[in-house]
C-alpha cells in the first residue's frame, strides 16, 4: 500500500484477489491527471490486472477520462484486465457524456466484477 499526499489527486493501491485496486480521491483535472495517469500506467506496466475505484472522485474532466482511456488501451494491448468500480455520480455523468460508459467495464465492486466474469 502506498499513499501520496502531495498531489491534488490522492490514491491508495491495494492488492486483492489478483487485482491491483487503485482508489483515487479528489478532483482529476488537467492538474491532477498527469499524476493519475502515471499511477494507472505503472500498474499496467507491472503486468497486473487493474481496477480503478472512483467512488471518492468528486470531479473528473476530459483529461482525467483520457487517462482512463489510455489505461484501458494499454491493458488491452498487453492482454490484461482493466475495469472501473464503484464510480461516483460525478464520474458516471462525465463518462456518459463521453459515450464511454459502454466502452469501459464498470462494476459496483471488485467482488461483483469477479462474479460477472
Amino acid at each position: 500500500m502506498s499513499k501520496n499526499s502531495e498531489s491534488p489527486v490522492k490514491f491508495e493501491i491495494d492488492d486483492e484477489q489478483g487485482y491491483l485496486i487503485v482508489r483515487f480521491s479528489g478532483e482529476i483535472d488537467l492538474y491532477g491527471t498527469p499524476h493519475a495517469r502515471e499511477v494507472i500506467l505503472n500498474c499496467i506496466n507491472a503486468e497486473r490486472n487493474t481496477v480503478i475505484d472512483l467512488s471518492a472522485v468528486t470531479y473528473i474532466d476530459s483529461s482525467g477520462v483520457a487517462s482512463l482511456v489510455e489505461g484501458y488501451q494499454q491493458a488491452k494491448n498487453q492482454q490484461l484486465e482493466f475495469g472501473l468500480i464503484n464510480i461516483s455520480d460525478a464520474v458516471q455523468n462525465v463518462l456518459e457524456l463521453a459515450h464511454l460508459d459502454k466502452v469501459f467495464s464498470i462494476h459496483a465492486s471488485l467482488d461483483e466484477r469477479i462474479q460477472a466474469s
Binding site: L30, Y31, D61, A90
Partner: protein, 560 residues
C-alpha cells in the same frame, strides 16, 4: 516703374496707370493682412495718380459713420469719423457713384470741416465708392492733383473706379475671413465651455451604484444638470435641475447652481433646507427672469429610503416592483424667483422599485409631431425594464434618438434603483493547470446563486474547466499568461441566459482547428470541445475587440 513689355514704346500715363491697376489688384487679391495692404495701396495710388493726398473711408456703426481706415499725404486722417452722409465722400457712398469735383469752392456738397481741422487746403476731389454687389462698404478719395491746374481728368476717374472695385472686393473678403475666424473662436470657446460643463457632471459610476444619470445637450452647452455624491455615512446626495432658457446664459446659471448644490449638499443633508439655501443664493443675484427647477434629495442605500424636495420641477416618477408608476408631486416654485420659500420634503420607500427624475426634454421629444408624453416615457421604460440600470438608460436614449424623434430641448434623466444584483463573476487567474480549480469553485458559487440546479452547475463547471484546459494547452501552449472568466446573467436575447466567457491573451488561434473528435475514435485527448458543445446551448469563438488573444462565449439558459 518698369514697362509691361520690354519692347513697348515709352510708357504713357495710361500705361502707367494700367500697370498700377494690375499690381494693386494682384496685391489685394493675395492679401492676408488687409490693413497693411490698404496702407501700401493707398500710397501707391496717391503717388501714381499724382494726388496730394488719398484716403479710404469705410462704413461702420451700422452704416451711420464713415471712418478713415488708412490714408496717405501730409495730413494724418486715420481714425477720423464722419457722419455717413457727410460731404462729397458721403454723397459718393450714398449714390454709389464716382464724384469728381474740380473746384471744391463751387461744390455745394463740400464741407470745409476737415480742412478747418487740419489746415489743409482742398481744391479738387476725386472720390469713388467701394461696393461689392449691392453692399456699400465706403469710398476711396483722392485730393488735389499735382498738376499745374491741380485738376483730375476723366482717365483718373476710370482708373480710380477700377481700383476701387478691386479694393472693395479685398476689403469684403477680409471682413468675411475675420467673421469666419471669430465664428471659429466662438465655436472653440463653446467647446471649452461644454467640456467644463461635462466635468461638472459626476463621473460614470459602477453598475452596482444605485444612482445613474444621463445628459444629452441639444447645443454645445446645456441648461440641464444632475449630480450625485456619497456622504461619509454612505448616503447619496443627488439632484437633477433644468435652468430656464438655453445657451450660454443658462449654462452659466447651471454652473453656479450646480456648484452651490455640490458644496452646500455636503453639510446640509436636509433636501428642503438645501433647496431653501440655494434658492436664496440664486435669487440674490440672478438675472431677471431666469430661474432653475430642481429636484434635490438624499438616498440611503441601507434602508432604501429617499427623501426629496421639488422646486418647480416636473414630478419624478416612481415605478414600483409590480410595474405601476406613481408621480411624486410637489408644489414649490422654482429656485431664484422669490426668497425665503419653504420646500417641503417627501419621503419614499424605494423598495425594489425605481425612481426616475427627468427633464421635460424627454417627454416633449416629438415623433411625427406627437409628443412622447409621460405615457410614452413609461412605455419606453417598460420596453427596457429587464436591463440593468446603465444598460437601460443607454437603450432608452438610443430609442429616443432613433426613428426621427425630434429633440427640442436638453434631455436629462437621473435614475435611482437599489434592486438586489444578479450574481456575476469576473475573475482572472494565471493560465496554469493548478488554477483551474479556483475557476471551478468560484464559478460554481455564482452559478448556484444565479439559480442553476446542482446538476446544471456541475455541467457548467465542467465546460468552464474544459475551456480553461484548452486555453492552457492549445492557446498559451504552456507559456505564462492569464485567463479571464466572466459570468453574468443576460436576458436581452432570451430570458435567464447565463453568459460565460473565457478570454486569453495568447496568439489568436484558428477557430477551424478547434473541433471535437469523432467519438468512436477511442483515444485520449480531444474530448474537451465535445463536452463543451454537449453541455452548453451555444458556443462562439471570437477575437476580442482589442484584437488580442481569443474569447470563447458560452451560453446556457438557467435550468431550462
Amino acid at each position: 516703374m518698369k514697362p509691361i513689355h520690354k519692347n513697348a514704346p515709352p510708357s504713357t500715363a495710361l500705361d502707367q496707370q494700367l500697370a498700377l491697376l494690375a499690381r494693386i489688384t494682384q496685391e489685394f487679391a493675395t492679401s492676408l493682412d488687409i490693413e497693411e495692404t490698404l496702407g501700401i495701396a493707398i500710397k501707391q495710388i496717391m503717388v501714381n495718380m499724382h494726388a496730394e493726398a488719398a484716403s479710404i473711408f469705410l462704413l461702420e456703426n451700422n452704416d451711420t459713420e464713415l471712418v478713415c481706415r488708412t490714408c496717405a499725404g501730409p495730413i494724418q486722417l486715420t481714425g477720423l469719423r464722419l457722419a455717413a452722409d457727410h460731404g462729397i465722400i458721403g454723397n459718393t457712398v450714398k449714390h454709389n457713384a464716382v464724384q469728381m469735383v474740380l473746384d471744391v469752392s463751387t461744390a455745394p456738397d463740400f464741407t470745409a470741416q476737415v480742412d478747418a481741422q487740419t489746415g489743409f487746403t482742398t481744391r479738387s476731389i476725386l472720390c469713388a465708392p467701394l461696393t461689392v454687389k449691392d453692399k456699400k462698404l465706403g469710398a476711396i478719395e483722392l485730393i488735389n492733383k499735382k498738376t499745374d491746374n491741380g485738376l483730375f481728368i476723366e482717365d483718373d476717374q476710370h482708373i480710380l473706379t477700377a481700383l476701387a472695385s478691386s479694393a472693395a472686393l479685398a476689403i469684403h473678403n477680409a471682413e468675411m475671413a475675420t467673421a469666419l475666424i471669430e465664428q471659429e473662436r466662438i465655436q472653440h470657446e463653446l467647446a471649452l465651455a461644454r467640456e467644463i460643463q461635462a466635468n461638472l457632471l459626476p463621473s460614470v459610476p459602477t453598475n452596482h451604484f444605485p444612482v445613474h444619470g444621463y445628459n444629452l445637450p441639444m447645443r454645445e452647452v446645456s441648461g440641464d444638470f444632475y449630480d450625485y455624491f456619497t456622504l461619509p455615512d454612505g448616503r447619496i446626495v443627488f439632484n437633477l435641475a433644468d435652468v430656464s432658457g438655453k445657451g450660454m446664459n443658462a449654462s452659466l446659471l447651471m454652473a453656479k447652481t450646480s456648484s452651490l448644490f455640490h458644496c452646500l449638499g455636503k453639510t446640509q443633508t436636509s433636501p428642503g433646507q438645501l433647496l431653501h439655501m440655494i434658492n436664496n443664493e440664486v435669487h440674490e443675484n440672478s438675472t431677471r427672469g431666469m430661474f432653475v427647477t430642481m429636484v434635490g434629495g438624499i438616498f440611503d442605500p441601507s434602508n432604501n429610503e429617499v427623501r426629496l424636495a421639488n422646486a418647480g420641477h416636473q414630478p419624478p416618477m416612481l415605478q414600483f416592483a409590480d410595474g405601476h408608476f406613481e408621480e411624486i408631486l410637489g408644489q414649490s416654485p422654482p429656485l431664484g424667483i422669490m426668497p425665503d420659500i419653504q420646500f417641503p420634503e417627501t419621503n419614499l420607500q424605494l423598495a425594489d422599485g425605481t425612481l426616475y427624475i427627468y427633464t421635460d426634454g424627454v417627454t416633449e421629444s416629438q415623433q411625427n409631431g406627437k409628443m412622447l408624453g409621460e405615457a410614452g416615457f413609461q412605455a419606453m421604460i417598460n420596453a427596457h425594464r429587464d436591463k440593468p440600470v446603465a444598460a437601460r438608460i443607454t437603450a432608452m436614449f438610443e430609442s429616443l434618438q432613433r426613428e426621427g424623434r425630434e429633440l427640442h430641448d436638453d434631455v436629462t434623466v437621473l435614475v435611482i434603483e437599489n434592486k438586489p444584483q444578479t450574481p456575476s463573476l469576473t475573475l482572472s487567474v494565471p493560465a496554469k493547470a493548478n488554477y483551474i480549480k479556483d475557476l471551478r469553485d468560484s464559478a460554481r458559487d455564482v452559478v448556484l446563486a444565479a439559480g442553476s440546479s446542482k446538476e446544471q452547475a456541475d455541467s457548467i463547471v465542467l465546460a468552464i474547466s474544459e475551456a480553461a484546459s484548452n486555453v492552457i494547452q492549445h492557446a498559451y501552449k504552456g507559456d505564462d499568461g492569464d485567463i479571464e472568466l466572466n459570468i453574468h446573467v443576460d436576458s436581452s436575447i432570451a430570458p435567464d441566459q447565463l453568459v460565460i466567457s473565457l478570454r486569453d491573451y495568447a496568439d489568436t488561434i484558428d477557430i477551424n482547428e478547434v473541433r471535437s473528435r469523432a467519438l468512436d475514435d477511442v483515444r485520449p485527448g480531444g474530448l474537451g470541445v465535445h463536452f463543451m458543445k454537449q453541455l452548453m446551448d451555444n458556443l462562439v469563438y471570437t477575437v476580442p475587440e482589442d484584437g488580442r488573444g481569443n474569447r470563447l462565449e458560452m451560453r446556457i439558459t438557467i435550468n431550462e
